[in-house]
């Protein structure tokens, strides 16, 4: 394998420490380091830093797990509340819609064909009396009948 330069070796020292290098490249890097004081110093420094990891404070694991559970429960409750609200809105809306749909689109015409007098007495006339019950009856009269009617009315 081609000899390695210092820049490349220092670039991959972390990979040597973590075992990411192939066996061939790892061997080449080790050989270079054994013969290079500067790279040896850097490898020692990298090794010291890699080993100086922090430990997990006592109780942190339980604290984090509890926090994630609480958050999940709260989120679940929130989703349930939202779902319940949506369900109420959907049901309410459906009921209202159903009510609107029971009203026919075309309203039946009111039956105005009255065959019996609604009320007898002062101010009311029988609908059979063509001469006095309304102008509609006048249309059926001939001109002579109209003149006769005017005479009878004294006009």
């Amino acid at each position: 394998m081609k000899s390695l330069n210092c820049d490349h070796v220092r670039d991959v020292l972390p990979d040597l420490l973590s075992g990411r290098l192939s066996s061939v490249e790892g061997a080449a890097v080790r050989t270079h380091v054994q013969n290079c004081v500067e790279c040896q110093v850097e490898l020692d420094l990298a090794t010291a830093v890699a080993a100086a990891r922090l430990s997990i404070p006592a109780g942190l694991h339980a604290r984090v797990v509890n926090a994630t559970r609480t958050r999940r429960t709260a989120a679940w409750s929130g989703r349930m509340t939202l779902a319940a609200g949506i369900a109420v809105a959907v049901v309410g809306g459906s009921v209202l819609l159903a009510q609107f749909r029971t009203v026919p689109d075309v309203v039946d015409p009111i039956d105005v064909s009255v065959t019996e007098p609604i009320q007898h007495g002062a101010g009311w006339w029988s609908v059979e009396d063509a001469f006095v019950s309304g102008t509609a009856s006048l249309r059926d009269l001939s001109e002579d009948e109209l003149k006769k009617l005017l005479v009878e009315l004294g006009t």
Binding site: P14, E42, A48, A51, A52, R72
Partner: protein
């Protein structure tokens, strides 16, 4: 402490991959959620602690990071590894905590509490703790971008591309910040 470490090592050894854990966590599986927390808590806490330089604030930020990430799993599209995505959220949570508290300590004090490996003998443990504190002190003196690039590269074992994704910068910038950080560390430790 020992019991907690023992408890944490069990899920780590299960070998369940992130993809299936994420799928289960999305559907509300508590065990999967807890496994994800166990698997990445140290990485996340380390990220927030390196930014904030304060144990208590770092724990707050780590908790925020997990709550935010696990509450937004539907937004994780798998374009990067889950770890990278989570670390980016952790970084944002730490910065958010720093803004809320209105302070960011430049020098870390007592971030190193105990060494995780309880099997080493006492002399070695003390020596390692002293070395860890020495490294801690010099790391804290680096500018944040350099410090985070060094930590992610050397302690989190991320590639330059993954460091870039976690820090939201280009791969070239990640590489430059790493090398500037190491150079500065060498100067500080002479």
């Amino acid at each position: 402490m020992v019991s907690e470490i023992a408890r944490l090592t069990v899920p780590l050894a299960t070998g369940v991959d992130d993809t299936s854990l994420l799928s289960r966590a999305r559907s509300g599986d508590r065990e999967a959620t807890e496994l994800l927390v166990s698997r990445y808590l140290r990485d996340v806490y380390e990220m927030t602690a390196r930014v904030l330089g304060d144990r208590d604030l770092a724990q707050d930020a780590a908790q925020d990071a997990f709550v935010n990430a696990l509450g937004a799993l539907h937004r994780f599209r798998g374009e990067s590894s889950f770890k990278t995505w989570l670390l980016r959220i952790a970084l944002n949570s730490a910065r958010s905590v720093a803004r809320r508290r209105g302070r960011r300590r430049e020098v870390a004090i007592d971030l190193v509490e105990d060494l995780p490996d309880q099997r080493v003998d006492e002399v070695t443990r003390i020596a390692n703790a002293d070395e860890a504190k020495r490294v801690e002190a010099v790391l804290a003196r680096l500018p944040e971008k350099q410090r985070m690039a060094v930590v992610l590269r050397l302690q989190q074992n991320l590639s330059y591309a993954e460091v870039a994704a976690a820090l939201d910068c280009s791969e070239g910038a990640a590489r430059v910040n790493y090398h500037l950080g190491v150079k500065r560390l060498r100067e500080l430790t002479k």
